[in-house]
């Protein structure tokens, strides 16, 4: 199938050079310039990985500061203004600089062309540009937050954001710029899927990760302009008092919320759909089974992307929205839940009659299943309008979106990191440490956020610097969980860094996966495949014994 040689290029030992004219992308040019001006999607993906992890660290440190502050009621380690800036910084960095780009910009970039049998993405230079646009936006955002600080929360609700004296404009300008990066990446992936598929890869032979990235890209391209527009409006209003959102000037304070959630609700699927995609790959590989309902999973990604656009009003049930609107948004919210349920059932179905190899990525799959089911169900509960009246803007909501958004996404991000680590770096990580830290992280996550569900039930509002005494026990539990979680991440950082240099050489396909990306070398050469373009006669995720295989229904 793949005409490539099986020479292991990981170390790229010098004496191999006369055999191998296709060094791995990692060593094909070692100057700084060859990295920062590269148009290779894999190098760009790797650079994204570096920055995304950096921002995850920044966001994580701020998360721990928040949890420490909330250990006791009243001031603990900082004053109220600092706290308000801290949670804003945490939210903004995590959402705009980590979660949105995490999977698409890192693993999407790296794997999508490989999975389509392409040499690169459709617009390699645009791809590099999107990295630099992202970094420019990040600089504006961080500069604004560190010089003056911002205390609006990541939601920037007006009229507070148009009145506050803190630095709104540069931060919103940063978000505006990052939007362009998101749009550029999205367009690039969409065009790549349409034009760069290798012969043999029809739409319904695309791996499910590609489907998920495709659906995500559609959302990015359609929704991001709205937040771009909105950030400009708010910055202008903040600087020049335009009155768009100010009732004193005839503006509408709720208009902002509509525009904001019209982007930000779909944006939650920008974060979580790629995670769903990663998990489809992983459950298939580690149970050596074709995906139970391939088409159902593919279509439900598109379904989520579609109805995700019409559910934004569920953030505004108590904003004075009409009862009728609340009903419509409530029903549409339920549909998102149904699409998610289809995926969950099909993942579990995939394991049925499979051959499960319980490796670290699979452990993350288990955690992911739990977070998705629980996060999704609490989402449905929130869409049940009368319950949302009680829960809205309490810690219940904080717990819900951390479960589904952060929980599911982090599980997928870590799973992807472990699963594709051999592909990206040609070495394997240490399985024992992998399982230990996965257990620690899943445990820590639950210990952090389950108490927050209960806090929400108990009535603790979000974004509280100080709280009545009766909330303390649960806050202490949550902080303890966060500490556990931090330990998990530290362990991962340590053994992965170690494996980067000393890990066992992986070989081409250590998981014996049938995913298309494993047909290439590990790590792949610059143009992905050596020799003539490979063809892909089988369905993706196809593990049937060729002798026993009755050919699946023609697609």
């Amino acid at each position: 199938m793949t005409p490539s040689s099986s020479i292991d290029t990981a170390g790229a030992a010098p004496h191999d050079e006369h055999h191998d004219h296709h060094p791995s992308y990692l060593v094909d040019g070692t100057t700084i310039k060859s990295w920062i001006l590269t148009v290779d999607h894999k190098r760009i993906g790797l650079m994204f990985l570096f920055f995304v992890l950096l921002f995850f660290l920044v966001g994580g440190i701020f998360a721990l500061l928040i949890r420490l502050e909330l250990l006791t009621p009243g001031p603990t380690i900082m004053d109220a203004m600092t706290y308000n800036r801290t949670f804003t910084l945490h939210g903004l960095v995590m959402i705009f600089l980590f979660m949105i780009p995490a999977i698409p910009a890192v693993f999407g970039n790296f794997m999508l062309p490989l999975m389509l049998g392409a040499k690169d993405v459709a617009f390699p230079r645009l791809n590099l540009a999107s990295l630099y646009i992202y970094l420019t936006g990040a600089v504006f955002m961080l500069w604004g937050m560190l010089n003056g600080g911002l205390d609006t929360g990541w939601t920037f609700y007006t009229p507070y954001s148009t009145h506050t004296t803190t630095t709104v404009a540069p931060v919103m300008f940063g978000a505006f710029i990052i939007g362009f990066s998101s749009i550029a990446t999205g367009i690039n992936f969409i065009v790549t899927c349409h034009t760069m598929r290798a012969p043999g890869i029809t739409w319904f032979k695309m791996p499910l990760f590609v489907w998920a990235i495709y659906a995500t890209s559609c959302i990015q391209v359609l929704a991001t302009p709205v937040i771009g527009l909105l950030t400009v409006l708010v910055a202008v209003e903040n600087l020049f008092s335009f009155g768009m959102f100010d009732p004193a000037r005839g503006g509408d304070p709720v208009l902002f919320q509509h525009l904001f959630w019209f982007y930000s609700h779909p944006a939650v699927y920008i974060m979580v759909l790629p995670a769903f995609g990663v998990m489809s790959e992983i459950v298939s590989t580690y149970s050596r089974k074709n995906i139970f309902g391939y088409r159902a999973v593919a279509y439900s990604s598109l379904g989520i992307a579609f109805v995700g656009f019409f559910a934004w009003g569920h953030h505004m049930f108590v904003s004075g929205q009409s009862t009728f609107d609340a009903g419509v948004f409530g029903v549409l919210t339920m549909l998102v839940g149904v699409f998610t349920a289809i995926k969950v059932f099909n993942w579990v179905g995939t394991v049925y009659k499979g051959a499960v190899d319980f490796k670290t990525p699979f452990a993350y799959f288990c955690g992911f299943l739990f977070f998705t089911v629980f996060g999704g169900m609490t989402g449905i509960a929130l869409g049940t309008v009368s319950l949302d009246v009680a829960w809205h803007d309490t810690y219940f909501v904080v717990a819900h979106f951390h479960f589904i958004m952060v929980g599911a996404t982090i599980m997928a991000f870590l799973a992807a990191l472990h699963y594709w680590f051999p592909k990206m770096f040609g070495r394997t990580y240490h399985e024992g440490w992998g399982l230990v830290s996965a257990a620690l992280i899943i445990l820590g996550f639950n210990a952090t956020f389950i108490p927050q569900f209960l806090l929400g039930n108990n009535g603790m509002p979000r974004r509280y610097y100080d709280y009545p005494e009766r909330f303390q026990a649960l806050n202490v539990a949550s902080t303890a969980g966060a500490t556990l979680l931090a330990f998990g991440f530290i362990i991962i950082a340590m053994y992965l860094t170690y494996s980067l240099v000393y890990g066992k050489v992986a070989g081409k396909n250590p998981w014996r996966s049938k995913g298309y990306e494993w047909l290439s070398e590990s790590p792949p050469p610059t143009h992905n495949f050596v020799g003539p373009q490979p063809t892909f006669p089988e369905e993706p995720h196809f593990y049937v014994d060729p002798k026993k295989a009755e050919v699946p229904d023609a697609v």
Binding site: M81, Y157, P247, N290, A296, G327, G337, F345, V351
Partner: protein, 348 residues
């Protein structure tokens, strides 16, 4: 049972009719969620074990779901979700549609306090008194940024928006004191924006409100400074009319244009009055107020300086109400259009 579940779920005391409904649905939803996720979890666990890999290169069968399976995957959750939604939406409609006989209270959020005012009643900061077992409609607004009025024990919450009224209602079931929190981030002291609802048994509440009317506890914030707290014009006018009667204004001033001991109120507002000292002055709010507080300052020519001062006898809001009343008598066919002040229309 439900008491037990509430403790298990850390729910605060449930003290309104709405809270009972919310809790019922909450238990239903949490119950099914737990059953469903345990089922999915156990099925997964069983399969991880049952189908573990035995040889490294093991192949598997090609299994795909039948149409019926996929149909079940879609329809079972959908039925549950829609059932929850149906119940939840019914309750939501209920809590956003106040009964006709509900008693009104205005609520205003302001960085960082809650102000309450009763039409024709007292104003208060951070303490809201309501009777038990009587529907109370809250008309909520904000003076600056967004806030959100939240009473965990009643399970109700509604945003406070500047320049707009929102409404929600509740009926407290148990006398007691319940916490009010602000749940929309509103700046520095967001977490200090606390208040309480004091639910009184009916008779006690009636006594309390009578006391308030007598003005004993009227050492409140000056409502005049809060234009958004001033009751709507129509009500202020009525209030002013009553006050003009009870305070004795109408003993000397007529409202039908006839001259009496003092000038008539009819058409007085915005009129140019000739004064004793030969000058003239336009009758505006300031002049009317001054005439009440210091009647001799600018005597209208042709009248005696006999009017007593009302300094100290009228509260700020009462003065304002009388001014509004006089303004309303500007032309024989009363006011034209509402002036400032919140509109008091049912909000849908």
């Amino acid at each position: 049972m439900s008491e037990f579940l509430n403790n298990l779920l850390f729910l605060p005391e449930s003290a309104s009719t709405f809270a009972e409904r919310v809790d019922f649905l909450h238990h239903f939803v949490v119950g099914t969620t737990m059953v469903m996720s345990t089922a999915v979890g156990l099925a997964a666990l069983f399969m991880f074990f049952r189908y573990r890999r035995r040889v490294p290169a093991q192949t598997t069968e090609y299994v795909v779901p039948t149409l019926a399976t996929e149909f079940i995957f879609v329809s079972v959750p959908l039925v549950f979700f829609l059932a929850w939604f149906g119940i939840g939406f019914r309750d939501f409609t209920w809590v956003t549609t106040p009964p006709k006989d509900a008693m009104d209270v205005y609520v205003m959020g302001k960085q960082w306090m809650w102000k309450f005012s009763y039409p024709e009643g007292p104003n208060g900061v951070n303490v809201l008194h309501v009777p038990a077992n009587r529907p109370v409609r809250l008309l909520i607004t904000s003076r600056d940024v967004l806030h959100s009025f939240y009473v965990p024990s009643f399970r109700i919450k509604m945003d406070a928006l500047p320049g707009r009224y929102t409404q929600i209602w509740f009926e407290a079931t148990k006398p007691g004191t319940y916490q009010v929190l602000c749940t929309e981030y509103c700046g520095l002291s967001h977490s200090k924006m606390l208040a309480e609802v004091v639910v009184l048994p009916e008779e006690e509440y009636d006594n309390w409100i009578k006391d308030q009317r007598r003005g004993r506890l009227q050492d409140r914030q000056d409502a005049l400074a809060d234009t958004s707290l001033v009751p709507p014009v129509a009500r202020m006018v009525e209030q002013g009319q009553v006050l003009a009667g009870t305070q004795g204004c109408l003993k000397c001033h007529s409202v039908d244009g006839s001259q009496h001991i003092g000038p008539t109120f009819l058409g007085m507002y915005d009129r140019m009055e000739k004064l004793d000292d030969g000058q003239s002055i336009r009758v505006d709010e300031a002049y009317i107020t001054q005439s009440m507080m210091d009647p001799g300052a600018h005597l209208v020519s042709g009248y005696q300086n006999v009017m007593p001062t009302y300094q100290g006898k009228l509260q700020g809001p009462e003065t304002a109400a009388i001014v509004e009343y006089i303004k309303s008598l500007r032309t024989p066919n009363v006011r034209e259009g509402a002036s400032e002040g919140p509109a008091y229309d049912p909000i849908q």
